[in-house]
Symmetry: C2
Subunit: 329 residues, 2 copies
């Protein structure tokens, strides 16, 4: 009998299967047609939900409290939805130190304050020791769409340029390094709220769509776009910003940085004429100084992502099937 495996939590192919299993039992009229990470209800209100099970709960560059607000708020931001409200549910293991919980809540509150987000509803559950490992937080973010368009992948067009808003894979590399007791000094998660950096882009006529590259990384987002729209995407390896520390962790642990989670990096598609302007706007944010054009949408190899490698070859970027690292977010 089929069982849920860690691979089903990877964000890749098996996660799609798991989601399909869940959705298949809902009658069609009980589903919104567009199941992007952020749903739009009543036309202009964005809603998203995410559970955070990250381990360790404290990681270089952030903690589970900060991640729980950034993660949900970023799902709204990439749809042009101003994050306004958060509902938060905490499931804690008996024996968790209250001071530790308090610390995560302070991190969460700090991000809420930075973004002017109100905490409006909450729930707390405590389960017996051993029934949950430490602390899981679920957040539902609600906000108002301030763009005319909903910035879904349906807007992608051949010729569009793909931009990475910053260097990729830092969250996954930081978690992976912590997990294996490798702690390079200059490696931190990129966990951060995207709204301030992305907001100026919303005024660009040529802005097509955006997605935050979380679990599954940039590679998975590219595959979802290519498959979802049956278009081709060509990425240029040497243009993809990857910090040396991230590449080193990948070399040591055998990870592919394309699939490593980010928590403060968006993939952005823009009309070619607006690519330079978009880069300029992004780089005004201290979080996006590494922003770069990394590829192009194409009519070739429909449904597939191709990577032009540094040595001049081409390889297929497929959606990951298994799980490199569980409990990344």
């Amino acid at each position: 009998m089929e069982k849920v495996t860690l691979g089903h939590g990877s964000g890749g192919r098996l996660t799609q299967n798991l989601i399909q299993t869940i959705l298949s039992v809902f009658p069609e009229q009980n589903l919104t047609s567009n199941l992007e990470d952020c749903a739009l209800i009543w036309g202009k209100i964005g809603v998203t939900i995410d559970s955070f099970t990250v381990s360790p709960r404290d990681f270089p560059g952030g903690d589970i409290g900060e991640l729980a607000i950034c993660g949900s708020a970023n799902d709204l931001a990439v749809r042009g939805v101003l994050p306004r409200f958060i509902a938060m549910s905490v499931v804690a293991e008996e024996g968790l130190h209250m001071a530790e919980l308090s610390r995560y809540m302070k991190s969460a509150a700090r991000i809420c304050e930075d973004l002017n987000i109100q905490l409006v509803a909450g729930d707390t559950k405590v389960v017996p020791k051993g029934h949950v490992e430490g602390l899981f937080i679920t957040t539902c973010a609600v906000g108002e769409q301030i763009t005319e368009e909903s910035l879904g992948m349906d807007r992608l067009q051949p010729g569009d340029k793909i931009i990475a808003s910053t260097s990729i894979g830092r969250h996954g590399a930081a978690i992976g390094a912590s997990r294996f007791n490798l702690n390079p000094e200059n490696l931190k998660s990129d966990c951060a709220p995207l709204w301030p950096a992305l907001k100026p882009l919303l005024a660009l006529k040529g802005l097509r769509c955006m997605r935050d590259c979380t679990r599954g990384g940039l590679g998975t987002v590219m595959c979802e776009w290519a498959e979802g729209r049956n278009i081709g995407i060509t990425l240029v390896e040497k243009q993809i910003p990857i910090r040396i520390a991230v590449q080193s962790i990948c070399d040591i642990l055998g990870f592919d940085p394309l699939y490593l989670a980010c928590e403060g990096c968006a993939a952005i598609a823009v009309a070619p004429d607006d690519a330079d302007r978009a880069l300029g706007l992004l780089r005004e944010s201290s979080l996006c100084e590494e922003a770069a054009v990394i590829g192009t949408v194409t009519e070739d190899h429909a449904g597939m992502v191709a990577l032009q490698t540094e040595i001049g070859g081409m390889r297929v970027v497929d959606m990951p099937v298994g799980e490199m690292l569980p409990r990344i977010c």
Copy 2:
């Protein structure tokens, strides 16, 4: 150093402390002033969030999937908010049977269909075996308030009648019985959506406020009202509907039915002139045939709940401090 205990998950006094610990780190402008279970944002939109960790996941009268939709939808219903949308996040343990997950999702889908609720956003996480016991589901329900008033406890007035919409404690008793392998044939959880039964009440001018009696039971809701408004509430023991099977489980396991969780029972306060009309409307629903007036709001014993016992005495109903039964919902 203070640790989170099971008592913090009871829904009673310690849960209030835990919530206070969390809220105390948020600056005031980042909190809604009214932290009832269901928040009202932009004036007329209701939002609530709840995590469900119930064990066993299948219980007499329902399962975790059904509970996850009813629980959140009921938090809206008691505020006069029509449940319209659900965001759902699933955290599954590696090794969970896919067929079991599918079954719970079918239960969830059935309730969504009954109530015409759309699933709009979701998340799935898989954590390694032993990091979560089975399956936790978090739901965030969103809907539109269809009443003029927001039906909060601020509307309570001395003289108001308190109604229980059905017999109390069935969910807690069913879970408790399962946990101890007592399975009386005629004992089932009351888990059910409240909206259809409560909707007709919304037209009553004398309707003051409503609350679904979940974790902590009727007793805890009464204490929250009395303390929250600094008014007295007198309950009449012999008028409180309790089924024999529930009372038997309480006698065997040493539970007080006043504090046992319900998942399809609302406490309702109405002006005295409207009490009979409210009872009549409730009893039109097959779920509320046992509805009864169980007490009165009074100017006496402000901040306290008194129970007029069957033998003619009076006793204080205090908020529970510890935890009778963890993972009830």
